[in-house]
Symmetry: C2
């Protein structure tokens, strides 16, 4: 069961399925709880699968929430360019796929000349629903 890029190992598949079917980003320990019935019993099993799914670009970590979300870009094979929209009120989180934005950031160079091979961007605000409810 050694791993080609395209294939997921047993635990990886179990954990990916749960994240993929979730309506919101999931926390590691909530995943752990969900997979206990499938025989995955300990944190390292979950974290190992998460780490590898991230490296493969199948999921992303929302750093500000310590939560994990499936990648919606079907062609995303390496998670080196991520942007998320996060509602401060209802915590709804969606991945932003915006070609202009990703091009802009992929090509960004700072004053030091340092070149980047990866970025993560998290936007915060109120989603439409929550904006309405407030007014």
């Amino acid at each position: 069961m050694t791993q080609k890029f395209e294939f997921l190992s047993k635990n990886q598949q179990i954990i990916y399925d749960i994240i993929e079917n979730a309506k919101e980003p999931l926390k590691a320990y909530s995943i752990l709880y969900s997979v206990k019935k499938k025989g995955i019993k300990a944190p390292p099993q979950v974290y190992r699968a998460l780490d590898r799914l991230i490296k493969m670009g199948k999921i992303h970590k929302i750093e500000s929430k310590n939560a994990f979300i499936a990648c919606k870009n079907s062609n995303c094979t390496i998670s080196n360019a991520t942007a998320f929209s996060i509602c401060d009120s209802c915590e709804a989180i969606t991945e932003i796929s915006n070609l202009k934005l990703s091009k802009y950031l992929a090509n960004f160079q700072d004053d030091t000349g340092m070149r980047y091979n990866k970025y993560n961007l998290e936007f915060f605000g109120l989603c439409r629903k929550c904006k309405k409810n407030k007014s």
Copy 2:
């Protein structure tokens, strides 16, 4: 000792000074260790000060590292727009102040029409030093 925006309380000042004088971002528990001699003994005291310093814009949290860094924009009063450059090798972290970038991101609108009042961007790559050492 009630708090105007400009003034720091005792604990806030102690903790800000340490972060400000550090050469690299500091972790909460390393700060806690440093301030034990000053009478700050428990995590909540540190985390409360950190939270408030963040709200005031005096420091920022590097989400991917759980570390805290002083804001270098002398005029930054609210930490609603942050961008960092992180070296994957030596972990050197610097805040990016780039007017073009901040304007671009402040004005960014996604397809849903959601408007953002805050963002955090973290770029990863190799800094010049580390790039040289590798070649």
